[in-house]
Symmetry: C2
Subunit: 378 residues, 2 copies
């Protein structure tokens, strides 16, 4: 794709003043819809000051006389000046962008996370570049390697598959914060909920509701999965549930389809039916609920269900889904804070070391009908 409208205008200007390249008085073409790009130089000439002074006004430099400032401002408005981010970025080394990489933007949890990040960033005047890695660890590795540097001042990476071993313990040379609940080693700063605690809370809630044979829907092949499995174990153990009633059903990925398939298989099997399902995320739970519904199993009477994520959809399932709600806004804000810390760190002076390890953010249990196995003891 060529930016024809822009380069063509440039070409015209260069034709006007061949060689010198100093084409100064830049014609504004008619009053048609097409508006020539206005540079600081144009504003400077219009206001009768130097380019540098215009820059000073635009960037809010203190020592500019009110008179000058106002005159420049008027020219700025009149010509409709807009900063060229590319030039600014090239010269100053800062772009005003951060990159956010998530596995699947279409997955509700990541969409909601992305929205939270975008809004938090907008409040700070930062624009977000969204990448969708498709859960490809190759892509994730490339990003960790700095593939987005120089176009972004910092990177938020929500890795999915990336094995910790692949990353090594190298600290990248650009601001980076791991997002969500996946960890690739504790040498990197990371923001998210405490997965063990979250899972334990959800499972303990099911136990509270009288469940004694609780199936966990998930898999411990990722750091994230391991932690949620651990939370499940802790809660089961604390509740003194007999080992024979523990069951972790592995699923390939955490989608509605897998949740549906897993539960369907479970129901068709010859093992005893569970009275509780703890899904590692809401998408799995949504699939599970559908499968239970299709098989005529009543929720929560026969089986109680709880999960983690509390996506918006959770309030509208049949029945509404009990879930652990991470504070996405808190995650976004904290992650941006950590990016700033890293960006402001002066590597020369040694400065503060890069913060590392999990920065836990709050979560809460949102109880809805799906887990009300027995009426609350009131």
């Amino acid at each position: 794709m060529r930016a024809a409208s822009r380069s063509a205008r440039r070409a015209r200007r260069m034709r006007q003043t061949p060689g010198t390249g100093a084409g100064n008085a830049r014609e504004r073409e008619g009053k048609g819809p097409t508006v020539a790009r206005v540079r600081m130089r144009d504003v400077a000439e219009h206001a009768g000051v130097s380019v540098r002074t215009v820059s000073n006004v635009v960037s809010g430099y203190a020592h500019v006389s009110p008179t000058t400032r106002e005159r420049v401002q008027r020219s700025l408005d009149e010509l409709g000046y807009r900063m060229d981010f590319l030039a600014k970025g090239l010269r100053s080394g800062r772009t005003g962008f951060i990159a956010l990489a998530v596995p699947f933007l279409a997955e509700p949890y990541f969409a909601e996370l992305a929205q939270a990040v975008i809004h938090a960033a907008a409040r700070r005047g930062i624009t977000v570049l969204v990448e969708s890695t498709a859960g490809d660890s190759e892509v994730e590795r490339r990003i960790l390697g700095g593939g987005l540097t120089n176009v972004a001042d910092g990177v938020l990476l929500s890795a999915l598959t990336l094995p910790a071993a692949d990353v090594g313990t190298a600290v990248p040379d650009f601001p980076l914060v791991m997002l969500g609940e996946h960890s690739v080693g504790d040498h990197l700063p990371r923001v998210g909920i405490d997965n063990v605690a979250a899972a334990r809370t959800a499972v303990a809630h099911l136990v509270d509701q009288g469940c004694r044979r609780i199936v966990a829907l998930g898999r411990n092949d990722s750091e994230n999965g391991r932690q949620r499995t651990e939370g499940y174990r802790q809660a089961m153990s604390e509740a003194k549930v007999r080992r024979v009633n523990w069951l972790v059903v592995p699923v390939e990925d955490w989608t509605r389809a897998r949740g549906y398939a897993a539960v369907q298989e479970l129901l068709e099997g010859d093992g005893p039916l569970p009275d509780g399902v703890f899904a590692f995320n809401d998408a799995l739970a949504v699939g599970a609920l559908r499968a239970l519904d299709a098989s005529g199993v009543r929720v929560p009477e026969d089986v109680a269900v709880a999960a983690i994520d509390d996506i918006q959809e959770a309030a509208y399932t049949h029945p509404p889904l009990t879930s652990i709600a991470p504070d996405l806004d808190a995650i976004a804000e904290r992650a941006l804070d950590l990016l700033e810390v890293q960006a402001n760190r002066d590597p020369e002076a040694g400065g503060a070391p890069v913060p590392a390890g999990l920065e836990p953010t709050p979560f809460r249990l949102v109880v809805r009908a799906s887990s009300l196995h027995r009426p609350p003891a009131d």
Copy 2:
């Protein structure tokens, strides 16, 4: 936020060779994690060629001897060169980014649309910048005014609230394609499904299923809404449904919550109950289904439900939702095509005019349980 690691490195270099600024042999600092930025100049020196030749190799220029190309490539790899997109963009006028602006990224439809766009763009080597306008018409107007130009080669805008009157008939001076189903006038290129046809198809399907009193859930205060209303009208009229059985229930926005509230109100009212609900989008339908479920109204036996969007969630509602599925990949591809057409258009030569008006993309009706009011006639 300051990009400290980068600017500090720069400062150091400048200290080394004061005045000249030509610091050539750039030291690679230790073997620590910090890696100095490698420029074309560094590669050129390493390979013993000119900077321009490196540029030629990198950009795939044809007339480079195999020998030279290979030598440069080796240096490129060895030094780990990565292009500075800012400099490239500044010089060439093209950034390789496009901007995508949607109202709410957390709404499943927009998330799925965004994912489709990101993937389609990735296939073309384009990176996507996502903005979330929050449905603010002020933001949308700013974007139409060119607020994202110069950082993006083109803009895809999925406007929500923007009234056509505010836009005027001016053709923007940058590549722009309106996305989704909202129109702000037919002077702008636009990609999406034919809303009238889509709505008519959905409603006709409900009629087919034996529905005679069909409520439309939506509002005609947007172009989009007007068109879906029109489709509803056409289908009702074609089916010769008596006027008294037509009803459009207005909703403030197209969310699950509004759909829920609207149906609840409807059920509490004293009017006759409908036997069919046509929701303007899936989110409304999801809310509607939940409200019907909560009130003990059976779907599809008592009321059949159909909607537009076919978000992933639709296959997992209770019961699964019949919906019109737009081809998101086709929308994304076509939109990118149209951006390219505009970008390549030579305004000097007059070129082809900017394509304008709706570029309709295919859709299909996905029938699920929610609309099976009576068993198919077979």
